[in-house]
Every structure is written in structure tokens, then in C-alpha cells.
């Protein structure tokens, strides 16, 4: 086997891992919100984009410390989550059509708002960490390593939150049986608002990180959204652990397919694979019960 091929294979494996962790990072907030609260946030991509732009703005225009900027972006977008819960999700809970309408409205406003206000300058948040990390013939930029680590650790944190903390348990209670939860004296609105805050914060975090890895465009959220939905359905509804494996599958496909087929065909093949998987496991890989 020629050396080039071996390099290609190794590179693909590395890419698959890193890309998967990126997708896990992206999908975490969305899947969390849907699996735990049964809320389908179609505007996740737009929120991710807003988070990226806020972080960019603070880090470059204001000249703030990068990590601080990220934290502020996360906080700000988290607050936006309360707004989302109150005006987008609570009034239309369970009606997918109306949720789509509201979310499209929000997406339109956010994307065009950014597009109009920012004007055309290629915008990139400066990298959080510099340099390249070499092991033998494999070499990755530290940025990607950081994204990888953050993605995985966030997943663990969210799992801990759901299973160990009081709020996490309350969320699951609300999701499983609303009336029961109310009878138990759980403040349902508080719980769901909390869930939305967490979800949006996670989206913003992903946005800030990816914004430094890729460049920012007002429409960066659109393609992300499809990926996120793929991961949600593939992972199975009602299972956060599913995200890990779904993310791995989608990431690997995205890392390997472009090497075999060119350009847009990758997406088609990918969808085909995903649909086939779902036809054999309609509940997704780790799905428990159907909701929504």
C-alpha cells in the first residue's frame, strides 16, 4: 500500500473523530431540548449563528478576551432562550406546523438582521488556541483538539446534569407525564425555560467555537440544522446517549464520503444511508418511544 494512501486513511480517521465531536457539540443543545422536553427548536441553527456573531463582535470590535467573549455570548443567548420558550414554544407546544412557522419567522429575522447589519466583510473569530499538534505522521491543529475535548466533556456534563441533578430529574418527569409533574408541585414553566436556556447556551457555545474554526456567514446555521436533525432522529428520540453514536456515524460519513465521491453527491448518498438505517430501526438507534 503506497504511503499516500496510508496517510489518507489515517487522516480520514482523525477527521472522522474530530468532525463527529463537532457534530456532537452542535447537536447537543437541540437533542437535549427535544429529548428531555419534547420541544422541537427549528431555530437552533440561527441561534448557533447568533452566538457565533456575538462572540466575534465582542472579541474583535470590542477587543475583549476571547474566552470571556465566549462566556458572555453564551449567557446572552441563554437569556434569549427564555424569550424563545415564552413566545415560540409554550404557546404552540406540540403543534409541529405552528412551531415551524414561528421558528421560520425567527430564523428569517435573525439571518437577515445579521446580513443587513454586518455588511460584507469576511469575518472570523481569532483562533482560541494557536499551533499544530503533531504525533508521528498525524498532525492536527490544537483548535480541533480543543473542539474535540470540549464536545466530549460537554456531552458528559449534560448526561450528568440529566441523571444526577434535581432539575434534570424534574425535566424528565415533566417530559414523561406533565399532569403528574404538576401534581408533584414541579414548576413546569420554570423547568422548560431552564431547558431552553441550557439548549440555547449550548448552541451559542458551539457557535463561538466553530466561528473561530470556520468563518462566519449569516446563513451558517442552515446546513447545520439538517445535520442536527439527522443526528437527532438517527440517535433515537428520548435518548441523549444516542447523540454520541449518531454524531459518530454522521461525522464519519461526512469525513469519508467526500474522499470517495465528489461534491454534492455526498449529501445524497448520506441521506440514502440514513434513510435506510431508519427504515430498519424506525425508532432510531437508541430510541425508546415515539414523541412529537
Amino acid at each position: 500500500m503506497p504511503e499516500a494512501t496510508i496517510l489518507l486513511i489515517i487522516a480520514s480517521i482523525v477527521n472522522a473523530l474530530v468532525l463527529s465531536s463537532m457534530y456532537i457539540l452542535l447537536a447537543l443543545g437541540f437533542t437535549f431540548l427535544f429529548n428531555i422536553m419534547g420541544i422541537l427548536n427549528f431555530a437552533h441553527g440561527a441561534i448557533y449563528m447568533i452566538g457565533a456573531y456575538i462572540c466575534f463582535f465582542l472579541a474583535t470590535a470590542v477587543g475583549m478576551n476571547q474566552w470571556l467573549a465566549m462566556l458572555i455570548a453564551v449567557a446572552a443567548v441563554g437569556l434569549f432562550g427564555i424569550f424563545m420558550e415564552r413566545f415560540a414554544f409554550r404557546p404552540f407546544f406540540g403543534n409541529i406546523n405552528q412551531i415551524i412557522v414561528v421558528c421560520i419567522g425567527i430564523i428569517t429575522v435573525l439571518e437577515n438582521g445579521v446580513s443587513v447589519s454586518q455588511g460584507f466583510i469576511v469575518q472570523v473569530t481569532p483562533p482560541f488556541v494557536q499551533g499544530i499538534f503533531r504525533v508521528g505522521i498525524v498532525s492536527i491543529s490544537w483548535e480541533r483538539v480543543v473542539i474535540f475535548l470540549i464536545g466530549i466533556s460537554l456531552l458528559v456534563l449534560v448526561l450528568l446534569f440529566i441523571n444526577k441533578t434535581k432539575q434534570g430529574l424534574q425535566m424528565r418527569a415533566v417530559a414523561q407525564d406533565l399532569e403528574g409533574a404538576v401534581l408533584q408541585g414541579i414548576n413546569v414553566h420554570f423547568v422548560s425555560a431552564l431547558a431552553c436556556v441550557i439548549a440555547c447556551a449550548l448552541a451559542a457555545l458551539a457557535g463561538s467555537l466553530m466561528g473561530s474554526y470556520l468563518s462566519l456567514t449569516p446563513y451558517m446555521g442552515q446546513d447545520i440544522m439538517i445535520k442536527v436533525l439527522e443526528i437527532l432522529v438517527l440517535g433515537g428520540i428520548g435518548s441523549i446517549n444516542g447523540v454520541l453514536f449518531a454524531g459518530l456515524i454522521v461525522g464519519t460519513l461526512d469525513a469519508v464520503l467526500p474522499i470517495m465521491v465528489s461534491g454534492t453527491a455526498t449529501q445524497a448518498i448520506m441521506m440514502l444511508i440514513i434513510i435506510i438505517i431508519l427504515l430498519f430501526k424506525p425508532q432510531g438507534l437508541f430510541g425508546k418511544e415515539v414523541r412529537g
Binding site: L8, F120, D254, I259
Partner: protein, 420 residues
């Protein structure tokens, strides 16, 4: 059992149609006013100056939105500059140019609708733009209705520009220009490059532009490593493509067309993956943008054939003025120009109108295609393109070549990026 409440539904249908009626009545009103008319304005010149309306087709919303909003600003500046130099003189009468802008929404059918609006609603006889492959929606329409069409860009896809679209001109350097410029420089200054890999966005242009590029590369005596690598413009991560490029084992990679995001990302990923191969970027996006995306440490050993940018010696006084006005407009003293993709055609149009001394598109197109040299914002340009497009209607002019080392762009030379 009650029948469906159709009377009520019908009232709402009527209501809706009434609303539509009103709205479109509004449209017609605007149409009559904005049609190419004669509103007199008083200026320094002796006789009153009439205004002549020119249509500008831009993608103001959608994924090209922010970009084209900027280029439309440039176009407006160009119009002001033409008017301040006395406008255009046709039949001894001075005319000020006036732009009517329509939005193509970054979709082909949106662009078709906008073109329809310009032609049938705003009654313009000259259309500038649109961007990228959206020309394919306009060229045919203009041919049908005998409208002069000066495209702002061209990706060489069918319907954009060929022997059948005689009313269509390419008024601005397109992907083919940037490529020829880069190739010529590469040939002259990098003798040790033998094999090159080709990468370009897989937006359907590979069978056309890609094929042409491949031929030209081989004609220049290079061997193309592997097939053309088509990347997905909207990919989240470009490292797979980078891996693919490195795996070809070529001495250099040429990224044809495409925008800053994919090109910069691929550059970054190629470097991160540990390869230091020569990286040639030939597209309108300026070097500083590519550096922004790729990062300073990663952007090294790069040759970039691009539009004019801050730091390259200005080819003409007009361009200097253009830059100053643009910076004034956006209120940023060192904002780079975008690409002039609409400003350049307008500037040329002024030249052509003066030469032709008529507003008749048929006359204009003959004059335009028979001009040996034309005045562009980049200085004198030539008209060619018979070999590439089948018609001699593409304007080409000198383009700046830049090398980048450790994130520092260094201007090298002006290449006469001729369209064969």
C-alpha cells in the same frame, strides 16, 4: 349537517384578491413613474440634463445578500462618478445615469422574476449584473427582448454566455480571468512545479469551467494530478478535501473560483495536515480575506490572483477615487473594495454609450463588441473571449498577483489576465 362555511371562505378569498389588486395597482403606479422618463434637473451645464434609467440586477437577499449589498453600493458610486464627469452624451444631449435595482433573492427563479420586473415593469433597455451563475436566468430573456445585458461575473455554465446570447457581455473579470492570470504567473515564476491538483466548488461548473481549466493547464505543460476535486461549498469541515488534495501528491494545488470561506479553509486544513505544497488561489476574493479565514501561520507559500485590494499599487486614478468614496460611504478609512462587479460594467457602459451615441441596444452591442480597447476602473481593458465563449464580448484587464508568506501579502505584479 352544516355545509362548509364557504360563503365566509369566499369572502376571505375576495378579500385576499382585493389586497392583491391593491398591491399590484401599487406596482403599476411605481412602474409608470420609474420607466425611463425625462425628469429635468438643473446643474452647471448649459442645457438641462435628462436622466436615463439603467437596470441593476443584484442578489440582495439570500446567501449572496450581504456581499451584493456591498457591490451595489460600489455600483452607485460608479454611477455618481459617471454623472459628475458630465454623464453620457447621446445625440448631443447630456444624460445622467440612474440605477433601478431589483433583488434576485440568490435563487435562479428569483433572478428570473427580477429580470422580468426590470424588463416589463421598469421598462429598462440595459441590465447590469447579476452575480455568478444567475446570469443564465437573464441572458436568454435579454436575447428574447433585445436588452443589452452586461454581466457582473460568469462561471461559464450553459446559458450564461455563448454564441446564442449576442446581447450579453461580460463586463468584469470572471473566474476564467483570475485563472489565466494565476496560470501565467505560475508558469513564469515557479519552474520546479510539474504536477498540479485542481480544486473548485462542485456547483455544476466542473463539466464546463473545470474542463476548460484542465485543458489550459495541460496546454501549459503541467500534468494534472488525479481528477478535479469538487468540494461542497457548504461543507462544515473541509479537512476531508484537504486530505484528498494532499493524497494526490501534487507540487501545487490551484483553487479555481470559489469564495474565501472554502478556499481559506482548505488552505488552513492543508497546512494543518502538515503539507507545505504551493497553494494557488485564483478568485475575486482579496488575499487579506483568504488570510483571515486561513489564519496567519497557515497562510504561507500562497500565490493569489485576485481583485484589487488595499496595499496593491493602484492601476488608475479612478480606482483611487472609487476606493476613497467607498471608504467614505462605509465610514471605515481602510475598508477594502469588494469586487466592483457591478461598478466596472457601469463604468464601461458610460464609455460605450458615449462611443455609440445611441441608447438602442442593437447599436450598443455592435459598438461594444467592435471596440478594440475599453476604459475600465482597472485602466485600459481589451475585449476578447471568442475561444472561450464563442463570442467576442468578454472584457479583460490586468489583475494583481500577490504572494503570501506567514500571513503577509506581498504584491508581485499586474498580470494581463486575458480571456482566450
Amino acid at each position: 349537517m352544516k355545509k362548509i362555511s364557504y360563503p365566509l371562505v369566499l369572502t376571505s378569498i375576495l378579500l385576499a384578491s382585493f389586497l392583491v389588486f391593491m398591491s399590484l395597482a401599487g406596482c403599476t403606479k411605481t412602474a409608470t413613474t420609474t420607466a425611463a422618463t425625462t425628469t429635468t434637473t438643473t446643474t452647471t451645464t448649459v442645457q438641462p440634463i435628462k436622466t436615463y434609467t439603467v437596470g441593476l440586477l443584484a442578489e440582495l437577499t439570500g446567501f449572496l445578500g450581504s456581499y451584493n449589498t456591498a457591490t451595489v453600493n460600489e455600483a452607485q458610486i460608479a454611477v455618481d462618478m459617471v454623472n459628475e464627469n458630465g454623464g453620457v452624451i447621446v445625440g448631443g444631449q447630456n444624460y445622467n445615469l440612474k440605477l433601478v435595482v431589483e433583488d434576485g433573492q440568490s435563487t435562479l427563479d428569483g433572478t428570473t422574476a427580477a429580470a422580468n420586473k426590470l424588463i416589463f415593469n421598469d421598462n429598462v433597455k440595459i441590465i447590469i449584473g447579476p452575480d455568478a451563475y444567475f446570469n443564465s436566468a437573464v441572458s436568454g430573456l435579454c436575447e428574447q427582448n433585445k436588452i443589452l445585458h452586461i454581466a457582473g461575473y460568469c462561471t461559464m455554465q450553459p446559458g450564461e454566455m455563448d454564441a446564442t446570447t449576442t446581447y450579453t457581455f461580460l463586463g468584469q473579470a470572471a473566474s476564467i480571468n483570475y485563472f489565466t492570470g494565476a496560470l501565467a504567473y505560475l508558469k513564469a515564476n515557479y519552474p520546479n512545479v510539474k504536477t498540479v491538483a485542481l480544486a473548485m466548488p462542485d456547483d455544476g461548473s466542473i463539466p464546463y469551467f473545470g474542463a476548460a481549466v484542465q485543458k489550459m493547464v495541460q496546454a501549459a505543460g503541467y500534468t494534472v494530478a488525479g481528477s478535479i476535486i469538487g468540494y461542497n461549498n457548504s461543507a462544515v469541515d473541509f479537512s476531508p478535501y484537504a486530505a484528498k488534495i494532499i493524497a494526490t501528491g501534487a507540487d501545487a494545488v490551484i483553487c479555481c473560483s470559489g469564495i474565501a470561506l472554502p478556499n481559506g479553509s482548505i488552505l488552513k486544513d492543508v497546512r494543518d495536515a502538515g503539507s507545505n505544497m504551493l497553494f494557488v488561489i485564483c478568485n475575486s476574493t482579496i488575499p487579506t480575506d483568504n488570510i483571515k479565514v486561513a489564519g496567519t501561520t497557515e497562510s504561507t507559500n500562497v500565490v493569489d490572483c485576485s481583485a484589487a485590494y488595499i496595499g496593491c499599487p493602484n492601476p488608475s486614478a479612478i480606482l483611487t477615487e472609487m476606493i476613497q468614496r467607498y471608504q467614505l460611504l462605509v465610514g471605515n478609512s481602510n475598508a477594502p473594495l469588494v469586487t466592483l462587479e457591478y461598478a466596472n460594467p457601469i463604468w464601461e457602459l458610460g464609455h460605450v454609450l458615449n462611443q455609440a451615441n445611441s441608447f438602442d441596444p442593437a447599436v450598443l452591442k455592435n459598438t461594444f463588441s467592435n471596440m478594440t480597447s475599453i476604459q475600465t476602473l482597472y485602466g485600459p481593458g481589451t475585449i476578447s473571449g471568442l475561444k472561450t465563449f464563442g463570442i467576442n464580448q468578454a472584457v479583460s484587464y490586468q489583475l494583481p498577483i500577490t504572494t503570501i508568506t506567514n500571513g503577509v501579502p506581498t504584491f508581485q505584479t499586474w498580470e494581463p489576465a486575458l480571456v482566450p
